[in-house]
Subunit: 313 residues, 2 copies
């Protein structure tokens, strides 16, 4: 299958590498010049479950793909949320009327961007439990196991989704069909929509926040806003189950002493955050549906204030 | 007049000193042992508009006043908000049925505590524009001019309020009667209810926050909650005027580069904040009146989370 990995960071590198190993025709597209140059020179390097490997995969800068002749059967989207629209524009000439587009970005509402470029029946939404890291430009660090749930967004795209599942499974990516992918996406977004913004604003790890006596009240208020919006999209959230999952983040024995990714982005690396695609998406959808979302709104504003105070870019 | 200054920090020292200079019979009551010991030894020292002075005023620890024989005509309250109830209990045997109690604390809703101990007709609420600092225990730093607005809380206490105004004015404290003290108190609380919590949570000075592109939206949301609660207490707020006053805090040429007092308390000195008596009071009153106050609620929770994460005491 001819596959574009659009966004070849840590996760994109994992998917590109595994799909390439499974004999698909894969190209990577990214916007990080140093990373691109090294992969062009040396191939994509990886520490893959402890083994040092190199996979020779074509890679292009997204500003430099207009002359690339590649009619994709499948695009897998792995950009940062704020880069999605630009990426869709960049790859537009490689996306035909039969190209399936699988979105595996964190956050919610990305389909609103994608459907500007792709018919609904070709859009597939997914949720992945794989992890991945970069050791530096040109080299990924890929450990452990994962899985993917996915579902076609349009009513008539199930066959295409199942075809994609087969390709992913040949590459050992453990994909399976979901009858309710939106619920999984919202559930994951609830974890990100609490831990990310709150730990960033409070300059805290997850345990530090979770052990305060206001944590439950704050988390419940935020999750109830996500649930109300999700309900309107027929994506029912089991709120007690979501709250229980969030509480597992507070465990000092497992991940509680970690800072979530938004904290890494803003506080450690001084980068703009994806808050507009997590809590901010709930605010936008809430306005559309006439649902009050003050906690998501205030948290989104506070994170934007912090970005500006710190001069993040 | 026999006057108790209940809470003899910076502002209490100013009022105690000026009222003592005006030949009133003043005693100071406080809870800070080192400060009390030095004032007992050396008198209350002050740099008073550039002049080094000493005023010999009696001072007692609030846990040590049960045997003090002093029937107060007037109590002026200057404690931290969270210490008010304890102070009212401590001085209870010096407060008779004719003792007037003037509350000059920052924040709102203190009358709910005071009226547990004092009849409504003896309670006077005030708002002061005086400033004061401490150079250290036992020594105040008092510069510039100020004023006080005050009003009786009960319907039949105006005469008493005017008597208190006269005593304050003899001591050059520039007091005047207000027909709507609650509005002034709410207006001041709006400044504190935005700058204090927001700069504390965002680890920012006032200009830094004010220059973000979300500042106006956040401030308007918070002030509108204060205004809705104030309205129910017949304390109408002129919202555009309040917003304009808050914006003066952002001016880098004047006070914009300062951190507000709550930031000093929590971030610099690791002390618990007065948030429950500012935004937290709006939440409590909002519940009572059936008014939604999500921004004040979330901000109060965030400040409490920060207190606990930092181990403030």
């Amino acid at each position: 299958m001819k596959i574009i990995i659009a966004g070849a960071g840590a996760m994109g590198s994992r998917f590109g590498l595994m799909l390439h190993q499974a004999k698909n025709d894969v190209i990577l597209i990214d916007g990080w010049q140093e990373h691109i140059d090294l992969i062009k020179q040396n191939g994509l390097k990886a520490n893959f479950n402890g083994e040092e490997i190199v996979e020779n995969i074509s890679i292009y800068h997204q500003n430099d793909v207009s002359s690339v002749d590649f009619s994709a059967d499948l695009v897998i989207l792995f950009t940062k949320a704020m880069q999605l629209d630009g990426m869709m524009q960049s790859i537009n000439n490689m996306v035909g009327e039969n190209t399936k587009v699988l979105c595996l970005l964190n956050g919610i509402g990305h389909e609103d961007v994608i459907k500007k470029y792709v018919p609904l029946s070709n859009i597939i939404l997914g949720n992945t439990m794989w992890t991945a890291g970069l050791e530096g430009p040109g080299k990924a660090k890929l450990f452990g196991n994962g899985s993917i749930d996915l579902q076609n967004l349009g009513t008539d795209g199930k066959e295409a989704a199942e075809e994609v599942i087969e390709v992913l499974n040949v590459a050992n990516l453990n994909a399976k069909y979901s009858d309710n992918i939106l619920s999984s996406i919202y559930k994951k977004a609830c974890v990100n929509g609490t831990m990310n913004g709150l730990c960033t604003i409070l300059d805290s790890n997850m345990a530090g926040f979770g052990e305060t006596d206001v944590a439950d009240d704050i988390v419940e208020a935020i999750v109830s806003e996500f649930a109300a919006v999700a309900e309107r999209e027929n994506a029912t959230l089991n709120v007690p189950e979501v709250l229980a999952q969030i509480k597992t983040c507070y465990n000092r024995e497992t991940i509680g002493l970690h800072h979530p990714s938004m904290y890494q982005d803003l506080i450690i690396n001084n980068r703009l955050t994806e808050i507009d695609y997590i809590n901010g998406a709930i605010v936008r959808k809430g306005k559309e549906y006439g649902i009050e979302t003050p906690y998501c709104s205030f948290l989104t504003q506070l994170v934007h204030a912090k970005e500006q105070i710190l001069g993040a870019k």
